[in-house]
Symmetry: C2
Subunit: 343 residues, 2 copies
């Protein structure tokens, strides 16, 4: 199925060059994908020219010029109001106007969230999008949410995350009754903070959820559950700690294989294996973070993602757009409509 995505070409720590390389990787992988690059015209054109694109590939790339870009550390509320000619604004508007089926950006997360909310609107009962990402496990992918959008959560927020995440996993992964777990510090019912205990009470009683109980941090990568639910503070710490550890261990491996002549020799022979390992050791940069709860498809690529990482985020958005995830969530949330308002 054809899909056209809006790409914020200017976002991310590594900038347009990396983003455009990522876009081309994604286009090569997915023949039914086309993109609208939103960026500074001259710069984007120059970068595209460097790739000597075939006519066929070039035809799948459209360009929308902007005059501004939002910095990684600017205050979201200010850029929402004052930077309406930025690549991020224009890219999201393309989705709001129905010209694109989804948007991908590696830029400022807070700004992306606020601008998306402004142009796309939220689902009934949801005040802020939750961020979810796929994580690698022994048995394929699991999902984790929230990753930092909702910091001081109420039990009702965690219930909403469980509901939205559950719809997402069943839609995107084709799993009929995704197994939902709450991240906690023990598996016994008496363990945990007051938020988790109250959320467990709500989630376990909801008829639409296949709640399997608490999960501890050391089991996140087990693949025993399909969805791990937690507040945004905890999820952010868990994900970033994993990122930090993966980086640390990757560094240790490098050092190990450069210690002496023997280890260098083995390291040389192991090069292709180590390359595969390096990719596996960077789980957090895969796929991008999906914003759930918006009336539209928005995927945030890791600010620090390389071209391949960015292409994963694009592929993620293409899948969600094709599966009609946002519409599906909208129907589900209207049906389930929660009678309380949350923060």
């Amino acid at each position: 199925m054809q899909v056209n995505l809006a790409i914020d070409a200017m976002g991310g720590d590594l900038g347009p060059r990396t983003n455009i390389a990522g876009v081309l990787l994604a286009l090569l992988q997915d023949p039914l994908l086309s993109v609208t690059l939103v960026g500074k015209q001259q710069l984007v054109k120059t970068l595209l020219l460097q790739h000597h694109l075939s006519r066929k590939l070039a035809d799948r790339i459209h360009l929308l010029a902007c005059n501004d870009q939002i910095g990684m550390h600017e205050a979201p509320a200010s850029v929402l109001r004052h930077r309406q000619d930025s690549s991020m604004h224009l890219a999201i508007k393309l989705v709001a106007q129905g010209q694109c089926q989804g948007v991908v950006s590696g830029g400022n997360t807070g700004a992306l969230m606020l601008i998306s909310r402004h142009y796309l609107g939220m689902l009934p009962g949801i005040k802020r999008p939750a961020i979810s990402t796929a994580i690698p496990t022994y048995k394929g992918q699991s999902y984790l949410l929230d990753l930092g959008a909702n910091i001081d959560c109420q039990p009702e927020n965690l219930l909403q995350f469980a509901l939205m995440g559950s719809v997402m996993v069943s839609r995107v992964e084709g799993k009929a009754r995704p197994r939902v777990a709450l991240l906690n510090i023990g598996q016994e019912a008496i363990k945990g903070n007051s938020l988790v205990k109250a959320a467990a009470n709500l989630i376990s009683q909801h008829p639409c959820l296949n709640y399997v109980g608490y999960i501890e941090g050391n089991k996140i990568f087990s693949g025993d559950v399909d969805l791990v639910v937690c507040d945004g503070f905890t999820g952010n710490v868990a994900l970033k700690t994993s990122e930090g550890l993966a980086g640390y261990l990757s560094g240790q491996i490098q050092t190990l294989f450069h210690k002496n002549w023997y280890s260098r020799l083995v390291g040389l022979m192991a090069q292709p294996l180590l390359h595969q390992l390096k990719q596996q050791m960077d789980p957090v940069r895969y796929n991008g973070g999906s914003f759930l709860g918006l009336q539209g498809c928005v995927v945030k690529s890791h600010g620090n993602a390389d071209a391949q990482g960015f292409s994963f985020a694009i592929a993620r958005a293409a899948t969600e757009a094709r599966q009609g995830l946002a519409e599906c969530l909208q129907t589900a949330m209207q049906k389930l409509y929660l009678p309380y308002e949350t923060n």
Copy 2:
């Protein structure tokens, strides 16, 4: 300096055989260490005999017989009252009576905490011990606390963790002004949940602390700070997630080096390097968790630790006992005495 430690020989998932192997490793590493093994007499004697100990080594091992042991999942409050002939009770009592300078157990964490509190007592102003562990970083060891003893924390608890942790790092690592950071989801002052923001306010104003600001999960292993402070829920999730990821990646490496004949050959050549790596990839089992805030030295070994892991926990306790950490904390807390009571 001579030191005698009480060892709960019966605790831990892997049981007395592993604990005793760990004790022997620790004794071989540390010629001035002696231990009192608390365990079922016949069992411990049989296990010791299997090691064919030299007279000299055997002289450094004392035995205190018990008739009971506490299971890993028993309710702490019940075992405190009803299981006073257990190895854990008797081992902690040896410290309370001054016969040993510290105790190490791989058993039930909640029970160890409650029984330690009961026999040893708390420092002024502290209601529950905080658990701290060393974590490997690019630049040597850092420390993380709390790891799960204090779940629903107030800002004052985090201040206490910062104070106790700071005293510990300066005493044990010999660092004059340990750099203290608060674990958060961003480095900017506006980021974070209400607990972290209020704690930052308290910690940054305290004259005895060298507070350097917020730290994100991906920087925990950077070594840029000496002490990372967080509530017990967050710390437990961060540590266990690291443990889970390390295990997952270790498994990936195994699989990678067994894929085909080439990778098997390289794997064979890389065996010594992979062995080193395996040790480095298991950071969370090092050292054991120190209980801070008690009037005595108590170190909890990871329930799942192997003999080498258990020997690290013993070495940790020996260091803390030699440095007089508990007394040092007592003096510091009396001097700093906090005028409020905490939960």
